[in-house]
């Protein structure tokens, strides 16, 4: 059976040119980049070359890029690194309620270590109000971190506006751009951010390589101490092939981005248009300010994991924010934050398109998804309405 991968926000296949670029660093140039002899020097040069390309994708300087092993690591590094570096100035941090777990849970850890954290709400489209950011800033505020685009609802935040406010108030501003870099143009200069997280596996690069942009002059405490790799800011023998892969993927993305957007957006629009014809299906996230490859819905009366599985049985791979589809068994806090009631949140489903998605794929999807919904609604006891059950709270899991 042909499979149609509509979960590009989870991860991506490797671009074939990226793997080709990586292979020599598994084989010939295996030296430690700190070594002075040839195989080490080759590795070092390859890393610095990849740093240039990676920086260029977000319009940063090479020396402003610190490679990490994942978006999660870069996010932890950003929050803890600034918290520890700036704690003498103050111990207050601002984030939104729709951050990725790697921001949210790091913030919670910092709360336990004596920092205060403000969690900003979002509106029904998932947008943080810049005025709320301004109001939340106090004298002790040392860091604001707001996600650039949500992987769950696709909404793109007004980052430039928020960054401007942060700058005025002299507060360091970080954005988690893991879901945006590779899908829309991201330029640290025009956004005006001080720090930005992005991950290679989101733009056809390898798993195991991500980066934190840290604007020149900003002091950050390492998350991983040790040797002098990454200018002493992130220790550990470098994952040379993965870093090389990130550089190659960044280069390809920089040149192909507009083409990729022009390819996915009309297909995505067609998917949304067709899906919204189905009864009791709601688009989540902002209708326009959203990632061009991103479509997310809640489907009433049925559950997300069941939709994913039935779609998978028909060759369509997607994601859900339902409680059952998360290993934590909690409905996505993002869906709850935009005001979707918990029983509807169970019907969350997310489709993200990519380079290789074809018009035929979307036609097949548009035929198949209504059938899947119909089938599961036939099984559901609620197909005729929620019967008042939606007001209860979930105690079973406690």
């Amino acid at each position: 059976m042909k499979t149609i991968y509509l979960d590009h926000v989870a991860t991506n296949p490797l671009h074939p040119e990226v793997l080709d670029a990586m292979l020599p660093y598994f084989k010939e140039h295996y030296g430690n980049p700190l070594s002075v002899y040839e195989s080490g020097v080759k590795a070092r040069e390859a890393i610095e070359d990849a740093r240039e390309r990676t920086a260029s994708l977000v319009n940063a300087k090479a020396k402003e890029i610190i490679f990490t092993a994942s978006g999660a690591e870069a996010n932890n590094f950003a929050l803890k690194g600034i918290a520890y570096a700036s704690q003498s100035k103050g111990k207050h941090i601002i984030i939104s309620k729709i951050e990725h777990h790697s921001i949210l849970n790091t913030a919670r850890f910092l709360e336990k270590s004596g920092f205060a954290v403000t969690y900003l709400p979002v509106d029904k489209n998932g947008i943080v109000n810049p005025a709320d950011v301004e109001k939340a800033i106090i004298k002790e505020t040392i860091l604001i971190s707001i996600i650039h685009a949500s992987p769950e609802i696709g909404t793109i935040q007004p980052i430039a506006e928020i960054a401007r406010i942060a700058k005025q108030k002299g507060v360091i501003f970080h954005t988690d751009a893991v879901a945006s870099v590779g899908n829309i143009p991201v330029d640290v200069q025009s956004l005006g951010v001080d720090m930005l997280t992005f991950a290679a596996h989101q733009f056809y690069g390898p798993k195991g390589a991500a980066a934190l942009y840290v604007k020149e002059g900003i002091r950050i405490v390492p998350l991983i101490y040790g040797g002098i790799q990454e200018g002493g800011r992130r220790a550990g023998t470098e994952n040379v092939p993965a870093i090389v892969g990130m550089g190659k993927a960044a280069e390809l993305t920089k040149s192909d981005l507009q083409k990729r957007i022009d390819h996915v957006k009309p297909l995505r629009d067609k998917l949304i248009e067709n899906t919204l014809k189905i009864d009791k299906v709601i688009l989540t996230g902002h209708p326009e300010n959203r990632l061009p490859n991103h479509a997310s819905f809640v489907v009433e009366y049925i559950e997300g994991e069941a939709m994913m599985l039935l779609l998978a049985a028909k060759g369509i791979y997607a994601a859900s924010g339902s409680a059952c589809s998360s290993k934590a068994l909690k409905a996505s806090p993002v869906i709850i934050s935009i005001g979707i009631p918990a029983h509807l949140a169970q019907g969350s489903v997310v489709f993200t398109l990519g380079e290789e998605t074809t018009d035929d794929d979307i036609n097949y999807f548009n035929e198949t998804f209504p059938q899947v919904i119909k089938r599961l609604r036939e099984i559901s006891p609620f197909a005729k309405g929620w019967e008042g059950l939606e007001d209860s709270t979930c105690t079973a899991r406690k």
Binding site: E305, A306, L309, A323, C324, S325, H343, F382, C394
Partner: protein, 123 residues
Amino acid sequence: MYSAKVMDHFTNPRNVGEMSDADGIGTEGNPVCGDVMKIYIKVKDDKIVDAKFQTFGCGAAIAVSSMVTEMTKGMTLDEALKITKASLAEALDGLPPQKMHCSNLGADALHKAIEDYKNKQQK
């Protein structure tokens, strides 16, 4: 993640649907938690002669519902009351640990349906 048997019962669930002339109906779960099972039984001479279900929930929940209705048919009420989470999971060649407790409501819904039947009998 799921066993072949779970996938079979999920993709081809047995005994789906409402039963208008049910002798007992049991509902367990909560849409806010993500799973609700409604089990219908038809009883004759203390034996379950037919069973149907309607389920809102994940793959495991649907497979468990299908399995419990399938297993229970032909059982005496006493036998059916002995069906447990564990025996259902076993019949499905196992369930992932996190699904064991939250989506495996079949035994509870069935027992509620039997209770409902018994209550109706007493009236």
